[in-house]
């Protein structure tokens, strides 16, 4: 079977779940080779990639690759595509990996598909566009297909791969060193999973009413091991930090379960969450458009319903 390069997403040496999803997906279409870019590679990381089917692991763990914005990683992938002639390159549809994919596409004169939610035989990709209103099947027609797949699009399945390691030395060009990262600032986010990667997201909107009251959203999220999101109304009001905004101008999430509390479900919000597998809505307005999407909905006061739900979840653990 033909080789598919999978760019590994990792944070502090830990392989992120989306990479395991990509390896699972790549296994159905070819033979996955993981590409590790930047410092932090370890035997644990190697084991995790191999356990999910990586036949080869290309390791470029020099600091150089990480110290400049995006461009060195695109150069690394371009070098590997030229050396290995893979059938495709898979990356996660995160903001940064999409940028890597975009620069790679130009370097290797190949088409790129972003925000893909499924890939079929023949590398035909499923995309959901216009806020979830239209489903598109598309394919790359020139070069080596580059596919950016959304987190949570594929259930992770373990399968042993050889995990044969190959060190790759990449000579980062002067041009790729032109935007230098001089400082990385970590903002407090607690122990919650990352919003775009979380299997469960609990979001609050206008109905939450205040910054203080977001604590009831956070408590529900913590009882479910979920990430917290917010609608634009809530972030515009300053009740919750902007980086947690789900919607057209914020993050796009595609979790297994999305719980919307006090969110009406305007198109601006739906564009960011409509591909969630299961949607639960809690809103006091029975006419709220979010109920059109909901698999389960409660018309009621979130101040009553959400804490009760949190208690019930705790009880059933």
């Amino acid at each position: 079977m033909s080789e598919i390069l999978v760019l590994v997403e990792h944070v502090e040496g830990q392989v992120k779940k989306v990479t395991l999803e990509l390896l699972t997906l790549a296994r159905k279409l070819g033979t996955p080779s993981a590409v590790w870019a930047g410092p932090g590679y370890s035997p644990e990381a190697k084991a995790r990639l191999a356990e999910h089917g990586a036949e080869k692991i290309y390791v470029a763990d020099s600091a150089d690759v990480n110290d400049y914005v995006v461009a060195p990683k695109a150069e690394l992938l371009a070098q590997l595509v030229s050396e290995k002639s893979p059938a495709a390159v898979f990356v996660a549809a995160t903001a940064e990996a999409k940028e890597i994919a975009g620069r790679l596409a130009i370097k290797i004169d190949s088409g790129v598909l972003t925000d893909v939610v499924g890939v079929e035989d023949g590398l035909v990709a499923d995309q959901s566009i216009f806020g979830g209103g239209v489903n598109v099947r598309s394919r790359v027609t020139k070069g080596t297909p580059i596919v950016a797949v959304r987190p949570n699009a594929t259930p992770v399945e373990a399968a042993a791969g050889a995990g044969a390691e190959e060190q790759v030395s990449v000579a980062v060009s002067e041009t790729a060193r032109s935007a230098r990262i001089v400082e990385r600032v970590k903002e407090e986010k607690g122990a919650r999973p990352e919003l775009t990667e979380a299997a469960i997201v609990v979001s609050g909107g206008r109905g939450v009413g205040s910054a203080e009251n977001f604590s009831i959203i956070e408590k529900l999220a913590d009882s479910l091991g979920a990430a917290v999101g917010a609608s634009r109304a809530a972030t515009d009001a300053g009740w919750y930090p902007h980086q947690f905004q789900v919607g057209q101008t914020g993050k796009t999430v595609s979790p297994q379960l999305y719980i919307a509390a006090g969110i009406s479900g305007a198109i601006q919000h739906r564009a960011g969450m409509q591909t969630a597998k299961t949607i639960v809505a809690i809103n006091k307005d029975p006419e709220a458009p979010i109920f059109e999407l909901a698999d389960f909905g409660v018309v009621g006061d979130l101040n009553q319903v959400v804490p009760q739900l949190t208690d019930e979840v705790a009880k059933r653990k």
Partner: protein, 267 residues
């Protein structure tokens, strides 16, 4: 400082957006065209940088004739002049083709700084700024929630310095580079101004240069639908989600929701 701000006309997200059944491209007649929301933040940031450091703001858009409405909006906000890249040969260009056409135009008109919104509400690829940086061979300063240009260096026209805060999953990266550069901005970097009546009137007299493919030295074999690097195989309206169970809270709404979550094995 010569600032070029790229803007895009997109279908209003409040109306129903469609693909055309004939060539599977965006149906621009089906919905009202409006300026892409994140582009307004880009225009505002360009204007603020000009106000702080002097220079000129040029609006650049690629799109059909009706995209001139979007140019007028940016001019009414305060941009000085505009370039409208308009040619039937550009219709249906994908991100690679679009970035190529814009890069050729930028090389022709010149720039110290290119500013864009980080994503459009129609295609939502979020790759264009990175692609422009790649094609132009200049620093990529994308997903900025703060932009600082060194004024002393910037006045020299080249060799000026720039720093941004790049939004990341964990917080932000501080990134430094030299001009010329490409910057993309996120929402909340600023509060875009509303055009004043005076601004709207003045915009009508501001110069808008129309360029075709040949004028911008664009190789027509690299743009347009037929030359795209990808294609839409087919598309369909998303099937409506199966109607869910909606209950009225009678003191047991939370418990009933927990029952539902348990039935789906989430708890």
């Amino acid at each position: 400082m010569n600032i070029v701000v790229c803007v895009k006309q997109v279908p209003d997200t409040a109306t129903e957006r469609k693909l055309r059944s004939d060539d599977k491209t965006l149906d621009r007649d089906a919905a009202d065209g409006v300026i892409n929301e994140l582009c307004e933040y880009a225009v505002e940031e360009a204007l603020r940088l000009k106000e702080a450091h002097g220079g000129e703001v040029t609006v650049l858009t690629m799109g059909p004739d009706k995209a001139s409405d979007t140019i007028r909006k940016a001019l009414a906000m305060g941009a000085d002049k505009a370039v409208h890249l308009v040619d039937d040969a550009l219709h249906g260009s994908d991100a690679l083709g679009t970035s190529y056409a814009l890069a050729q135009t930028l090389k022709k008109i010149g720039f110290d700084l290119v500013v864009l919104g980080s994503e459009s509400t129609d295609a939502r690829t979020g790759v264009l700024a990175a692609m422009l940086a790649e094609r132009l061979g200049v620093p990529q300063l994308t997903f900025a929630n703060k932009v600082e240009v060194d004024p002393s260096a910037a006045k020299a026209g080249s060799g000026g310095s720039i720093a941004i805060q790049r939004v990341t999953d964990y917080g932000y990266d501080r990134v430094e580079a030299s001009l010329p550069a490409v910057v993309s901005v996120v929402e909340k970097i600023n509060e875009p101004r509303y055009p004043s009546f005076k601004g709207i009137m003045a915009a009508k007299k501001k110069p808008v240069e129309k360029l075709g493919v040949a004028d911008a030295e664009i190789d027509a074999s690299q743009v347009g639908l037929a030359n795209s690097w990808s294609e839409v195989a087919d598309f369909a309206a998303a099937p409506p989600r199966a109607a869910g169970t909606i209950v009225k809270d009678e003191g047991d709404g939370g418990a009933k929701t927990a029952d539902f979550l348990a039935s789906k094995k989430f708890v």
